[in-house]
Amino acid sequence: MILFLSGLAIILISAVAVLVIRDEVIRDRFFATFVVAGSALASIPAFRILGGAASEITRWHSGMPGGDWVIGIDPLSAVFLLAVLVVGAANAVYGVAYMRVGSDARLSRQASATYAALVTVLALVVTAQSVVLFLCAWELMAISSFLLVMTNHQETQVRRAGFIYIVATHTGTLLLFVMFAIWSNGAADWSFASLAANRPALMWGGGPLFLLALAGFGMKAGFVPLHFWLPPAHAASPSHVSAVMSGILIKMGIYGMLRVVMLAGPPPAWWGWTVLALGALSAVLGVLWALAQHDIKRLLAYHSVENIGIIMIGMGLGTLGTAYGHPMLAILGYGAAVLHTVNHALFKALLFMSAGAVYRMTGTRNIEEMGGLARRMPVTFAAFLIGSVAIIGVPPLNGFVSEWLVYQGLFRAGYSSDAARIALLAAPVLALAGGLALACFAKAAGVMFLGNPRSDKPLAAREVGAAMLVPQLALAAACVAIGLLPMLVVGPFLFIGATIAGEQRSQALEAWSYVSPAAQNVALFAVVLLLVAAAIWAGRRFVLNRRSVRGDATWGCGYGATTPRMQYTASSFAAPLLAVFEPLTGVQEHRGATVFHSTGRDLVLDRIVSPLWARIQRSALRLRPIQDGRLHFYLLYVVASVVICLAYLVIAP
């Protein structure tokens, strides 16, 4: 615990330091070094606990209404803490370099300081074990990330995004207020341990509690339909902030839900069904909407919605496992959910970093204006490609490992003899999402990096510096490592899954003995795949070395005067798929004689949230005339109030 706290302190020191140190280079170096060092230090206890050490817990007497402050690291905290620190440290290095380029330099101090604060409170969110401390960390996380989103507040879009974000997140926090209020009713104090003990006292079997937690944490996690703040906020923030938000911040919603499920004990089955259904919905709609986007950061943001959906499918499965009494299912489901959370943190942060590098070099986020960047930014392209392969969940990278684990659970559910087998229906949904994700990242990677430049913006692009590349490569390496060595990684996650499900260690061991050989074979499969590819590549090289190899223009099917403008655009690429799912996509097409162009709108934001707010506003405006400035009416209100009070006086019991 000392290590953890001193690590956080070091991170906070860096926040203070950037505000004090004047020299730019020293400041940035100091900041990056301290954040990385602090993260490393703070991650030691997390590693220890994942390695099997006992959970740590510390309690400070606060005397505040709302009880003591409790900080603890258990396996669930540890794994989220690691994600926070790894992605946080990588993005700190990347972020200072990112902010130094271009017009944002003068904002970099404030952004760096806020960033360090954000990482600190994120670490606190996952370790807080009492309500008030948790809520404080939770809201500080929202506030500091909001300030970061607002970094480029001169732009109208950014302000709008920030506004939507802060409203959404504050609404979520208020729901959590009520949730904890309900939960604490009758508890000994406000520590999580007491809440767990208070479960039997929950009203209506904890149903309201669950729904509030789902909505409150879901607002942060951003599953459909609570995702509406997510794409604009991600597009508006500086890229390293988008990376942290998508990689970690929204996962705090997942953490919260898992924590609630863990503390609330054996859940009723409908919790699981709800989570599973929402997950399936998010997985498909998220990726479908991503497909309609041409702003790379919005596209990535919608993919976060999809991945949250996948995680929730795992969670829902875990909950069903507990509810129907299938420990194996519960462990697999929760384990897969947490593993996918970590994986997504790694590859989504990576993708945002690469996208940010491209944005810095081209000055645009619109992929329709990119193209041909693979030659100009080869390392960034490689990193983006690794991220893409990881996120579409194909072997041999980490995305496959977690999706495979989710499928394990879903298929296993399929041959249970009770209602849990219906969960199997989520498998084809997940498969559809996977297929769509493939299409989407083929579009993104292809249109951004391949072909010819589609405008003059990519022409001047060149590779970014080491400070922005090394963090990308580090995360890419992590993605590859988990993909190739699943047998080393999956085990601890099953134990975490068992912790969440409240199962015995023996159950986790049983699950592990079932999964372990398969995981080894997954590794085998991945390695063999790479070896076979290498062998064929060698053979091809061998053959081609003796033949004539020459370059020429792309075959234009007989048409000689092709131009880069004739390349297939992202809009056209996505059009047939979007046409299949027409009413769900919210896409608007603009056809002209020489152009085809589509824009993806957010159905929830544009069709539900905004109109709803407009309606509230209209009704509020309708009340305005009651305060039209005439004193006589004001006095009449006083009289009316007195009359009502007197009426109450007469009729009250």
Binding site: P65, C136, I166, V178, A181, I182
Partner: protein
């Protein structure tokens, strides 16, 4: 005798200030009295006594309000010294004088154990503040002060009726002294129920008008919108707290007499209605000071709601008095700086203040989160307590409605404040952007901001104890 000192010295100083010709001397007097007052209140925390045969005595609830008023006044006085130099409000001498009389009156309210005396203090605050509102010689200012005077006076008259009704409720025979709070509470079982109920109803209407509970709040936006920001702050922070104290005194008696079932639904309904009205009028508000006024209506609603809920709610209510007071004054002062900079309080004309007035703009952002009850600011603890109270006292729907209203209110306030703080400045006036922020105008709100933050994380044990005991006297307990 310290209690008497707290009331009399500011009053005398007020008279003296009117006689002083030099602005500098008046400022010095204002600051001195404010500091003396705070020191004296500090002493009161250690040595409690009573004056005027028990009429003036600082019980826990009163002491809390008194301390709040004293601190707020000190900050405002400090701010006023800079403000008076910068902006020259109408009436020069009267300005400082009225401020001091206001301090005296609020101290009287906070210290009174005698309910009629409390009423006298309450009415005096109304009168002391009126000239302060009328600080500009124009029609809007006049209109504001006129509406304030008429509505407040009617309201306070109703409160007087409540006092008289309470006196009627006391048995003629017996040892209990008339309208003295300790006697009323200890002899609560002998009070005539019917008169007591009538008294409480009128107290709600009367003090509710002074607090600005909907629909008795109509004077509030006009007044806060037109008064100088520091006066608006004093009203929203100190005056409303005193008014709430008045209502709380009646609630103490009613609760002691076992009228829970009568009192609570009324308070809850009043609180919820205020939240509703505040939400409706905060949305799309065009003037930042009027918005703060409706925010004040909201928080008064919360106070009454918490009081009505009892338990953790009442505890939250007491705590919220302090938090709300600090936040409101801080917000008014920060907004005041921006109004000084732009010359308007219309939001459409205030843009990108982060560029031109960074400290005040940051304070406004902090204030946004504080006033909407975001952790880790003080109001979070109190609002959370109130919501907890709603749940624990078996009013889950009240909790739900409250959260809904708080959400809508957050949207309204956030939209406005973010619009003011962020973006490009609307004026490209170099003159405006080059003025450094005056320390005297930002230190005060900075101090308040740090206090608000501190109260969200740590409440000093003596304060905690006092809050606990005060809440207990209102049927509350820490969550």
């Amino acid at each position: 005798m310290l209690e008497l000192f707290l009331v009399v010295v500011p009053l005398a100083a007020g008279a003296l200030a009117y006689a002083l010709r030099k602005a500098r001397a008046r400022s010095a007097l204002l600051l001195t009295v404010a500091m003396l007052h705070t020191v004296a209140v500090g002493v009161l925390w250690v040595h409690k006594g009573s004056a005027l045969g028990g009429w003036l005595m600082a019980d826990d609830l009163g002491l809390l309000v008194l301390s709040l008023v004293s601190v707020l006044f000190l900050v405002v006085a400090f701010y006023a010294v800079g403000y008076v130099r910068y902006e020259r409000p109408r009436g020069g001498r009267a300005f400082v004088s009225c401020l001091l009389v206001f301090l005296s009156a609020t101290s009287l309210v906070a210290l009174s154990q005698h309910l009629a005396l409390l009423w006298v203090g309450m009415e005096s605050t109304t009168l002391a503040i009126a000239p302060l509102i009328y600080s500009r010689d124009d029609r809007r200012s006049l209109e504001a002060v006129w509406k304030y005077l008429v509505i407040s006076s009617v309201g306070i008259a109703l409160a007087l009726l409540a006092v008289f009704l309470l006196a009627t409720a006391q048995p003629v025979a017996g040892a209990s002294r008339a309208l003295l709070l300790p006697d009323l509470i200890s002899g609560a079982s002998h009070l005539d129920q019917w008169w007591l109920r009538a008294s409480f109803v009128f107290a709600l209407a009367g003090f509710g008008t002074k607090m600005g509970l909907a629909p008795l709040h109509t004077w509030k936006p006009d007044t806060y919108g037109e008064a100088p920001s520091l006066v608006g702050g004093l009203m929203a922070g100190a005056l409303t707290s005193c008014a709430f104290l008045g209502l709380a005194r009646f609630a103490q008696v009613a609760l002691a007499a076992g009228l829970q079932d009568f009192v609570r639904p009324l308070l809850i309904a009043a609180g919820l209605f205020s939240l509703l009205v505040a939400a409706a009028f905060i949305i799309g508000q065009a003037d930042v000071k009027r918005m703060l006024a409706y925010s004040s209506v909201e928080h008064m609603g919360l106070l009454v709601l918490g009081l009505g809920l009892g338990g953790a709610g009442a505890y939250g209510s007491v705590l919220h008095v302090i938090n709300n007071g600090l936040v409101k004054v801080m917000l008014f002062l920060a907004v005041g700086n921006l109004v000084l900079a732009t010359g308007t309080s219309v939001v459409a004309d205030m843009r990108g203040m982060l560029r031109t007035r960074p400290v005040s703009a940051w304070l406004l952002v902090a204030g946004l989160f504080a006033v909407t009850g975001s952790p880790p600011f003080g109001p979070f603890v109190s609002e959370f307590s109130i919501i907890t109270g709603a749940v624990r006292e078996h009013h889950p729907w009240v909790a739900g409605a409250t959260v809904l209203m708080l959400t809508i209110i957050f949207v309204g306030i956030a939209r406005m404040i973010l619009g003011i703080v962020y973006g490009e400045p609307s004026t490209s006036d170099d003159e405006v952007s080059s003025v450094a922020e005056r320390p005297s105008l930002i230190i005060g709100p900075l101090i308040l901001a740090s206090m608000v933050l501190l109260l969200g994380l740590y409440i000093p044990p003596p304060l905690r104890g006092a809050i606990g005991r005060a809440a207990a006297s209102l049927g509350g307990a820490a969550p």
